[in-house]
Structures are given as C-alpha cells and as structure tokens.
Symmetry: C2
Subunit: 130 residues, 2 copies
C-alpha cells in the first residue's frame, strides 16, 4: 500500500479562466492525462458548482485510479486550485508517473505561486514489511 | 479555499474483514457519515477490485463534497486502509466537522496502528488575504 501523495495549492493561475469553470473539459483533460501517464482509470466524477445567479462557480472532481486517485478543486473567483495526486506502488514503483502527471496538470493551470507537499503513504507498513 | 486535509494510513484493522471488501457497504457508511457530520455530498464513486480468481480484493472510493472530498482505499490482504478527509472552509470553519468525521471513519476500521498527518490547505492564499 506504499505510495506517493503529491499535494499542491495553486495560486494566481494564468490559464484561460474557462479552464477553472468547465467541468467537462477539466474531466477530459485529467482522465486523458492519467491514461497517458500509464495509470488505470476505474472511474471519474466531476461536479460543476453554480453561484446564486446560476453562473458557473468552480469545479470539484476526482479520477479514481487502480493506483489510488487524483482530486482537483477549482476556485475561479481567486484563480486558485487544490490538487492531489496519490499513486500507490501495488503494481511497481509509480513515483515517476505520479511526478510527471502532477507536473503536467500543474503546468496546465499555470500558477504564479505553488505550495507543494509530498507525503509518503503506507510508510510504516513498508518499513515493517507489510 | 483554505481548509483542513487529514491524511491517515491505518494498519492492522480489527474491523470485520468484510468491511474492507464490500464496496456497497463502505460507500453507504461513508456517505451517511459525511451527511451526518454536516457536509454536502455532491457525488460518490466506489469501485470493488477483484483478484485473478475473481474474488473481492479491496475497494477504492471517493465521496465528492461541496466542501472538497473524502477518499478511501482498502488493502484487505494486509488489513490496511488509506484515508483522506479534506474539508474546506468556504461556508465557515469546518475543521471540527473534518475531525469528527475522520474520527468516526477511523474508529469503524479499528486500526491497531495509525499514521496521521494534518495539512493546512490554501494557507498561503489565506495569509495573503485571498
């Protein structure tokens, strides 16, 4: 169950504003990126929020992978995005795939500022030979 | 976009073994727990894996929330679970809800060992007034 979880908060995204609002486009991009980076998509669920006037107001979505998950939430009103890429190593060391997938998605949002953390998942189990 | 992301790896889970295998039951439990803790479910997606002989081999699932997401992956072969509860504070400070939801789900798996991390999401944006 050990794996790599990449966590990022993206600020001042310089992508097209519509990229933070269009759930269908964002879903297609994320699913395609996961597949191209060699991960196995077992499901996807994207939801478009609307504000009080009925206008698009952000997207929340997840791609469920055989190797764990990708999750993204957009905050178009402040040009920000939160991103999670968690890829386990059940079928081999997928760390490189996690990093390259993560980098491609971050690049698509083009943030001026980025906060990033890496969390080793299942580490205790790994150390103890589980 | 600031919020609290609780991350845990659960080991040696002493719950019924079937709880790590039954996607329908796990989905119902997670969705019900999110709702009871005052969060807004906008979607859910749970997938049951099967091994080479067709037997149940773990569950991966996510509950997409208006306040971000819950994600869970089970590893029945080693009695382990990875859990993410990420709850943003768009509608108010939801940190208490995140903690109580997280505690209930952990308790249901009854792990003998737990690794936990708390990640403050969107912190830079918060500090800078975004």
């Amino acid at each position: 169950m050990n794996g790599l979880h990449l966590i990022a908060d993206l600020h001042d995204c310089r992508c097209q504003p519509s990229f933070l609002l269009d759930a269908i486009r964002l879903e297609a991009f994320c699913v395609d990126a996961c597949t191209r980076h060699g991960l196995t998509v077992v499901g996807r669920l994207f939801h478009a929020f609307r504000d009080a006037t009925g206008e698009p107001a952000g997207v929340t979505g997840t791609v469920v992978l055989a190797e764990s998950h990708l999750a993204v939430h957009t905050w178009p009103e402040i040009g920000s995005v939160t991103l999670d890429v968690y890829v386990c190593n059940f079928s081999g060391d997928n760390s490189r795939r996690a990093h390259t997938l993560f980098a491609e998605i971050v690049a698509a949002f083009a943030p001026a500022r980025l906060e990033k953390q890496e969390v080793a998942r299942g580490h205790l189990g790994l150390l103890q030979g589980a």
